[in-house]
Amino acid sequence: MQRASVPYFLILPSFLLAAVIILWPLKEIVSLSLHDVNRFGMLKDFIGLEHYRSLFANPDFIAATWRTLFWTAAVVIGTLIVSVPIALILNEDFYGRGIARILIMLPWAISLTMTAIVWRWALNGESGMLNSALRDLGIINTNIQWLAEASTAFPMQILIGILVSVPFTVTIFLGGLSSVPEDLYEAAATEGAGRWDQFRLITLPLLKPFINIAFVLNTIYVFNSFPIIWATTQGGPANSTDILVTYLYKTAFRMGRLGEAAAVSLIMFAILIIFTILYVRLAMREEKQ
C-alpha cells in the first residue's frame, strides 16, 4: 500500500506546479475568449464565438496569420538547410574545430532580445553598420532604410531568426552524428561507395529521426517567437510585420481587447496541436514502411 503511493508522491510537486501555472491560465483564456470582456478584464455576457467571428473578419488578423505561417516555414526550413552541412563539417576532425563550434553556437548563449536590439542598430539607415559594410563591398550605392518597410524588414527578421535557430539545430544533429558507427562508413568505402553515396545512403537515413525532432521543436519555438520582431519593428510599420504573437500582445496589452486576444491565443494553440499531431502521424507512418 505504502509502496504503491511512492511514485505519485514523487511526481506531485512537478505536476502541481505545472498544473497551476499552465492549466489555470488556459482555463481562464478559454473563458475570456467566450465572454464579452471590458478593458479591465471584467467578464460580462457570454457571447459564444463572437470574438472568433470578428477576428476572422479582420484583415489584419488574417494577414498576420498568413505571415506567421510564412515566417515559421521560412525560418525552420532555412535553418535545417543551413544546419545539416554545418553539423557534418563540425563532426569531422580539423584544425580549429573547437573554436568553430563555439563561434557557431554563440547566438544561443546571447539573449535573443540583445541580438535583436543590436541588429536594430546595425540595420539603422544612416548610422547602421550593415549599410556601410555593404557600401564598402560595393553591393549597394545608397543607404537602405531596412526597418522602414516590410519588404526589407521582414526578410531581415527571417535571416535573424535563422541565425539564432542554427545553434540548437546543429547541436541536435551533432548528437545524432555522434551515434553513427564509424565502421559503417569503412564498410561502405570498401564496397566502393563514394562520399555522396555514403551521405545519401548512411548519414541521411540515420540523421532522419534527429531532423524530425529538430523540425518539430523549431516549428514550435519559431511559431511562438516574440523578441526578434518586437525588438526590431514591434510589428510595424502599420502592422506590416506583425505575426500572431505580436498581434496577440498588441491586442491584449495595447488595445485592451482581452477577449479577442484570448481567442488569438487559442487559435495559435490549435494550429500548433494540429501541426504536431499531423507531423507525428506522418513520421510514424514513414517509420513503419
Binding site: 510537486p13 580539423f94 584544425y95 546571447i110 541580438t115 504573437v245
Partner: protein, 274 residues
C-alpha cells in the same frame, strides 16, 4: 601539405560566410560600445578614440547593476527549483510502473506546446489576481513551471540509461532505497543534471515576454527588459550606452556557455535518442 591541413582550410573556407554573418552583430555591439556619443552615429569600423568610460557611465546611469542582480536571482533560483522538482518526477518515470504514468507523460508533452506567450493573458490574470505583479518570485515560479517538461524528459531518458544492477547490488548490500538513491544513483546522473541546469538557466536568463508583462517598476527589471527599455519608446536613444549594456549583459553567459558547450552536445544526444 598534410591531408588534415588541406581539409581544415577547405572547411574554414566553407564555414567563413556563416561565421561572418553570426559575428557581425556582436562586432557591431563591441565596436559601438566603445564609441563616443557623437561618433556612434557615424558607421565607421574603428573608433577614432576608444571610449572606455562608456562602461562606468552606463553602469551609473542605466540601472544595469540592479537588473544584473535581478537576473541572477531569478535564473539561479528557478534553475535550482526546476532541478529539485524534476529529479523525483524523472526518477518515478524511469524506475516505477504506475497507473497514470502515460497520462503524466502526455501532460508534460502538451505543457511543452503551450509556450508562455500563448498563455500570457491568463498568467497575467493569475498573477494580478494574487496581487503579485512586479514580484521576481512570481517569475521564478513561472519559469520553473515552463521548464519542468523539458527537464523531466531529459533527466528521465538519462536515468533510463543507468543500469538497475548498480542499485540492486547496493540493496543487496543492505543499503536502503533512499540511501542508494543518494550515494549510487544521483552521482551517476550528474552530467544530465548539469545539462538540464544550463538549459534552464539560459532560458530564464533570456526570457523576455513574461518579464515584460509582469515587471512594472524599474527596480525589478531583469536584464533583457532593462536593455529593451533603453531603446523602446524613446525619442533619442543613447546607442553607445545601449551597446555597452548589451555587452555587459551578454558576455558572462557567453563565456559560461563556451566553456560548457561540449557537455551540451553529449547531453542532448543522450536525451534525443531515447
Amino acid at each position: 601539405m598534410s591531408k588534415k591541413l588541406k581539409r581544415s582550410i577547405l572547411f574554414w573556407l566553407f564555414l567563413s560566410p556563416i561565421v561572418v554573418v553570426i559575428l557581425f552583430p556582436y562586432a557591431v555591439m563591441a565596436i559601438s560600445s566603445l564609441k563616443s556619443a557623437t561618433e556612434v552615429l557615424n558607421p565607421t569600423w574603428w573608433p577614432d578614440e576608444l571610449h572606455w568610460q562608456n562602461f562606468p557611465e552606463m553602469w551609473r546611469t542605466s540601472g544595469i547593476a540592479s537588473a544584473l542582480a535581478n537576473s541572477l536571482y531569478v535564473s539561479g533560483l528557478s534553475t535550482a527549483l526546476t532541478i529539485l522538482v524534476s529529479i523525483p518526477a524523472a526518477y518515478a518515470l524511469s524506475r516505477y510502473q504506475f497507473a497514470g504514468r502515460n497520462a503524466f507523460r502526455q501532460f508534460l508533452l502538451i505543457s511543452q506546446m503551450l509556450s508562455p506567450i500563448v498563455l500570457v493573458i491568463g498568467l497575467f490574470r493569475l498573477v494580478a489576481g494574487a496581487g503579485m505583479i512586479d514580484s521576481l518570485n512570481v517569475l521564478v515560479i513561472i519559469y520553473t513551471a515552463f521548464n519542468i517538461a523539458f527537464c523531466v524528459w531529459m533527466l528521465q531518458s538519462y536515468f533510463s540509461t543507468i543500469p538497475r544492477d548498480l542499485e540492486e547490488a547496493a540493496w543487496m548490500e543492505g543499503a536502503s532505497r533512499t540511501r542508494t538513491l543518494f550515494t549510487v544513483f544521483l552521482p551517476l546522473a550528474v552530467p544530465a543534471m548539469v545539462v538540464t541546469a544550463i538549459f534552464t538557466f539560459i532560458n530564464a536568463w533570456n526570457e523576455f515576454v513574461i518579464a515584460l508583462t509582469m515587471l512594472r517598476t524599474e527596480g525589478s527589471y531583469t536584464l533583457p527588459i532593462r536593455v529593451f527599455s533603453l531603446v523602446a519608446g524613446r525619442y533619442t536613444v543613447d546607442w553607445h550606452y545601449v551597446m555597452a549594456a548589451a555587452f555587459v549583459a551578454s558576455v558572462p553567459v557567453a563565456i559560461l556557455f563556451a566553456w560548457l558547450q561540449r557537455y551540451l552536445v553529449r547531453g542532448l544526444s543522450i536525451g534525443a535518442v531515447k
